[in-house]
């Protein structure tokens, strides 16, 4: 039995999405300030325009009536979240569309959605000549989206009369760190602030040593810190992390990527002094196991390519790209063409698997997530144990995730459903990519990269790719970021609204 969303429910969604759009107008003040301070007046005009458009739309949407007596329900939370990500991208793309680095508005929208979902796939043109203000906005989308657009809004406790928890959970967050949701999201921002500050200071030092001027050194450091910690993958230069030619630079980004791929609850436990949680937690164990195995595979694959002289280079490239893929970041020190030219063997497969697996739940990473993979692995072991145990025996499986837990059929089922949804989307995206004429391995790589919000590319994703494929990857990035539930709720409600009554037995 489907609940029909009535006009009042739609009004609630419009009202709260309006608040979030208004928040976007506020966020655009930072790139505007950057443009003004650096004398980039053409870019400043783009942001004044963007603020005007988002401000007018946002305040206009506030007039959708909401009753103080009615709370925001779980269904509202799902719909608000699903629509908010699209609305934020639509208004966020406005200034970028004027930048001269995007042939069409759709291209600007692609990059904005990719930024908010911390995917990092990009169709930007002539990035090396992009204004610093526009680069600031591109990377700010990672910062806003990495924590969650709704989470970002909740941190300011935006006029919500209840329903904060529904919104928080609807954004793919599985756990509350603190009893109060607003306190939880503020803690998330606090952790983010600490890591990005440390990253920015470290990378500024590296960049200054490399010879960059103070302004570019600090801006690049901030952007890369945001992109690495929020597991986004954008960079201010077309060469991405390769531009800097620095092992030290790569090392700092590795630490940031790993920090970003970890569960915020785990950060909280460690900060409270419980460092043993790192080693006991099923997620960190699963991540460590996956990274180790996939790094070995990637290294073996690169060594087999006979391009590298010596193990040091093979390990550096292999491990960096597996970590970048597994954390869902997408920073790369290889060219897109190299994935298909010389490394389309074991390393290629290892990176696809790493992208698909993803980071931890309640982190900035995408993908299936380590907790679910750990649970599925445990349930397989449990099935084997049950099959060989005496019929009278009661076999249980326990695992540690912030506390000792018992594996239940419901947990296994939820993990399996999410696993199936992700893998189905990976394959369907690859098939559609194949229909557009791209080779199957490349199409699969790109599809996994989009759905798992990674951003590594074999070169399919460019401004010249077919419009249909751009729309497909945008849909995959959006659905993958929301872990399908909110996205499917929106699609289901739209279908219920447009289908005649006798066709609604979905």
């Amino acid at each position: 039995m489907w609940l029909r969303v009535d006009r009042y429910d739609a009004s609630i969604v419009v009202h709260y999405v309006g608040l979030l759009v208004l928040g976007m107008a506020g966020a655009m003040l930072l790139p505007l300030l950057t443009a003004v301070l650096l004398g980039e007046w053409a870019a400043a005009a783009d942001y004044v325009f963007g603020i005007g458009v988002s401000g007018t739309l946002g305040t206009g949407m506030l007039f959708a009536p909401v009753s103080p007596a009615r709370r925001v329900t779980h269904v509202h939370g799902l719909l608000i979240t699903a629509v908010a990500w699209l609305a934020a991208s639509l208004v966020g793309a406005v200034p970028l569309a004027f930048s001269g680095n995007y042939p069409t508005y759709l291209d600007a929208l692609f990059d904005t959605l990719s930024g908010f979902t911390t995917s990092g796939l990009t169709v930007v043109v002539d990035l090396d000549h992009m204004s610093l203000a526009h680069n600031m906005w591109r990377h700010l989308t990672h910062l806003i989206g990495g924590q969650g657009i709704v989470v970002a809004a909740l941190s300011f406790a935006i006029g919500l009369r209840g329903g904060a928890l529904s919104l928080y959970l609807a954004e793919g967050r599985d756990e509350r760190i603190l009893p109060n949701v607003v306190h939880t999201v503020r803690f998330i921002w606090f952790v983010t602030f600490v890591y990005i500050t440390l990253g920015t200071l470290s990378l500024t030092g590296v960049n200054l040593w490399l010879g960059m001027d103070a302004v570019r050194a600090s801006l690049h450091a901030f952007w890369i810190s945001v992109a690495a910690y929020d597991t986004g993958g954008f960079a201010p230069q077309s060469m991405n992390a390769l531009y800097y030619h620095s092992p030290l630079f790569e090392t700092v980004t590795v630490f940031l990527m790993l920090a970003g791929a970890m569960n915020f609850s785990l950060h909280a436990q460690v900060w409270r002094g419980d460092r043993r949680e790192i080693w006991r937690n099923i997620e960190t164990r699963t991540l460590a196991f996956n990274v180790l195995v996939l790094s070995l595979l990637a290294t073996a694959g690169l060594a087999a390519a006979s391009v590298f002289d010596g193990p040091a280079a093979v390990v550096r490239k292999g491990v960096y790209h597996v970590l970048s893929a597994h954390s869902g970041t997408g920073h790369q020190t290889l060219y897109a063409a190299q994935w298909t030219e010389g490394y389309a063997g074991l390393a290629f497969v290892a990176v696809i698997l790493a992208m698909g697996a993803g980071g931890a739940v309640s982190s900035t990473a995408g993908g299936i997530k380590a907790l679910r993979l750990g649970v599925i692995a445990r349930s397989v072991i449990l099935d084997v144990k049950e099959s060989i145990a005496p019929t009278t025996a009661v076999v249980r499986s326990r695992y540690h995730h912030l506390a000792q837990r018992v594996l239940t059929p419901q947990l296994t089922s939820t993990a399996a459903v999410t696993f199936i949804l992700y893998t189905t989307t990976y394959v369907v995206g690859a098939l559609i990519g194949g229909l557009y004429g791209y080779p199957a391995p490349q199409a699969l790589f790109e599809s996994v990269s989009a759905t798992a919000n990674v951003g590594l590319s074999t070169g399919i994703t460019t401004a010249t790719m077919p419009v249909g494929l751009k729309v497909l990857y945008m849909a995959q990035m959006w659905a993958g970021r929301l872990e399908f539930v909110a996205a499917m709720a929106l699609v289901a409600n739209v279908l219920i609204a447009v289908l005649p009554p006798y066709r609604r037995a979905l």
């Binding site: 305040t59 043109v125 390769l242 590298f308």
Partner: protein
């Protein structure tokens, strides 16, 4: 006959890497990256725009990233050579066009497997300079009007909210 023809075509495809391949006199970075495996270890010349800045490297040398046809390639060159560059490509500036000859590495053993070009000859072929970027003043106007309208709407909304009892 058809089987023989197919076999011959397959053989030709398999032998492709072994066929001697003449390196063009001057290549763009994009062409080099696209054929990196064929060009690995060979001496070649690339031409493109110097972007960003010279970045410190090992051996007293610097990195100059050279952009051409949308792709940039790192060239490992002497600080003295890089000193001849007057403008690097950034927002609002086209960098000097440089021609760089040297040994190309698809995966440089000295630089952690990075793709690069170890420079022997480095020359500036054309000076870069500032690019005029026009300011669309109408966007300031429309944006300001939007901000004014949003402020009025926000004021009206607040007044209405104050009248609604909690």
């Amino acid at each position: 006959m058809r089987i023989l023809l197919t076999a011959a075509l397959l053989f030709a495809a398999l032998c492709r890497p072994a066929v001697a391949w003449a390196v063009p006199e001057v290549m763009s970075p994009a062409e080099v990256v696209a054929d990196s495996l064929l060009l690995d270890g060979r001496s070649l010349t690339i031409e493109g725009e110097a972007i960003g800045e010279a970045l410190r490297s090992d051996g007293g040398r610097v990195w100059v990233n050279v952009l051409g046809e949308g792709t940039a390639l790192g060239t490992w060159t002497t600080a003295e050579s890089a000193g001849g560059i007057s403008v690097y490509g950034v927002y609002g500036r086209v960098g000097d066009r440089v021609r760089v000859t040297g040994r190309f590495n698809a995966a440089c053993p000295r630089h952690g497997g990075d793709m690069d070009l170890h420079t022997d000859v480095f020359e500036v072929v054309r000076r870069g300079g500032d690019v005029y970027i026009p300011v669309a003043w109408w966007r300031f106007g429309v944006g300001a009007a939007g901000i004014a309208l949003a402020s009025i709407l926000a004021w009206v909304y607040r007044r209405r909210s104050e009248r609604v009892p909690e």
